[in-house]
Symmetry: C3
């Protein structure tokens, strides 16, 4: 594990932090857009962007036992979430209602990118912590979907993850692929992560565009 050191019992992995920060930024944009569309006020949008973008990473670190969680310890996460929300709000004011005019598919694309980045961050950090395959897949899925679940709970609505069939599934499939690539094909975690991330984004986007649905039962 060339790029991974342990400091004070914590994992230090620069590529991981980069992916994690990128996920935070993208998810914060998506949550800020959601907040604008739901007619929240300035502060509500800031809180929603912060909770929705770092929520998955906080859950991941609580599951891994890293205290306090990186997204709350490192000021850059909060700064990126605020910057993303500010960008959305500025655009919304200057362009006369970005929120209202943003096509829903654009928000969904941001969410798909954020899902892929966050799931890969979760998988990679679990690998750094030497978790078993089962834990890696679950923690990656929680990292990918956790922020969106908190976002929807704060908006008092049924989380998307329950009625979008290829959302958690995409994260789960990508993380499983990453574990397989590393365990069977001995790929390095950088390459396995990149392949898995692209797969998650492709699967999620295909499901969005093709409106893939699993059947209802009743």
């Amino acid at each position: 594990m060339k790029f991974t050191d342990h400091i004070d019992g914590r994992v230090r992995d620069r590529a991981l932090t980069t992916v994690d920060l990128a996920a935070t930024f993208v998810l914060a944009i998506e949550c800020a857009l959601t907040g604008v569309r739901a007619d929240f006020d300035l502060f509500g949008i800031l809180v929603l962007a912060f909770v929705g973008s770092v929520g998955g990473g906080v859950m991941r670190d609580l599951l891994l036992g890293e205290h306090p969680p990186a997204p709350l310890r490192d000021w850059r996460y909060a700064a990126l979430a605020v910057a993303a929300a500010a960008a959305v709000l500025t655009a919304s004011v200057t362009l006369g209602g970005v929120g209202t005019f943003t096509p829903p598919i654009a928000v969904d694309i941001f969410e798909a990118v954020g899902l892929a980045l966050a799931a890969i961050a979760g998988a990679r950090k679990s690998v750094d912590y030497r978790m078993n395959g089962s834990s890696i897949v679950v923690i990656a899925t929680v990292n990918g979907c956790g922020g969106g679940i908190l976002r929807d709970i704060l908006c008092a609505r049924v989380p998307r993850v329950l009625h979008e069939d290829f959302y958690a599934t995409a994260a789960l499939a990508g993380a499983t692929l990453m574990v397989l690539l590393m365990a069977r094909f001995r790929l390095r975690k950088d390459i396995a992560g990149a392949i898995a991330g692209v797969s998650i984004f492709a699967l999620r986007t295909a499901a969005l565009l093709g409106e893939w649905r699993l059947p209802h039962l009743r």
Copy 2:
């Protein structure tokens, strides 16, 4: 503590794992039935069954500081949750709508069995971790009710635990009984757990059948 070893700082307790897995299976059936009745689709039902059945155990392990929580580390929990959901779905399709025709009381009985098993698992694991009496009772109650609270939050409704008066109370009373039996009467945790589990189920079922209610105040 004859049946308990510690491996890597974690508790190893086979009877505990058996009870925990049984609770997961029963609660997953109950949550899958709830999902069918709420007209969720295939994937929503799977997620609901997984979150609702392992949620209490995950909260318990986070409170006890076991990282990652056993239900996310051990693939058998997820497998049982999926198997339970698959059984409900198969029955629903072949029998033409199990969800619609299942009498609510049957769902409630599954929930009562799951509550008793999960609460006892929580109490026993807290004993294994040498928690004090107050913590044992609280953690057992969280283990018993936590999954159901998450299930209801995901369904965007007020959790049952708030308006079913003898739900958390039953878990609380059973865990208190178990602590008393072990501390005062020096019963072994196997026997104390069995007595407490039966008491929780009996109290919950009596409250269900008798429609016991505490008064409203306003």
Copy 3:
């Protein structure tokens, strides 16, 4: 750190425990009043008072890695929550509907006092655990607002923190002030905490009475 010892790796800080217990009592009164107004029954009110009053402290201890969290380990928290709920219920019955007749501003004042006490408890405990400034501010805010968020999620409504603009902001500003007073002006944590606590209460109350609002955007 004269008043702080470590026992079993846990922080021992008597002033902290006092502030934490006071926050629990005040927040439990506020949550019990909320439960009465929402027409919950006896048991729902008890659960709401318990979860809403200790929720922030439990989240804080999970973030700090103290297992099990102090509010679940120490029976005095639960006892105070139950006592507060019992006081509200007794008053409600004897006075003929305290809940119905309590002016909303009175509930808000209890909430403001609880917010200030809980945020200061969170900041002080983070200082005791030698967290960095960024973590202290976030953990103090979570401690201050966490219980109220859980209370609103249990009531299946959008949390107040999202539409009350000077709620989380007040906790955030107060915790930042406390960190500045300690780091720049070398004030002791007792004095810095007292100043920060009064500031949070003053800011929150001013925002309530003046009906301060940030603009909506759409």
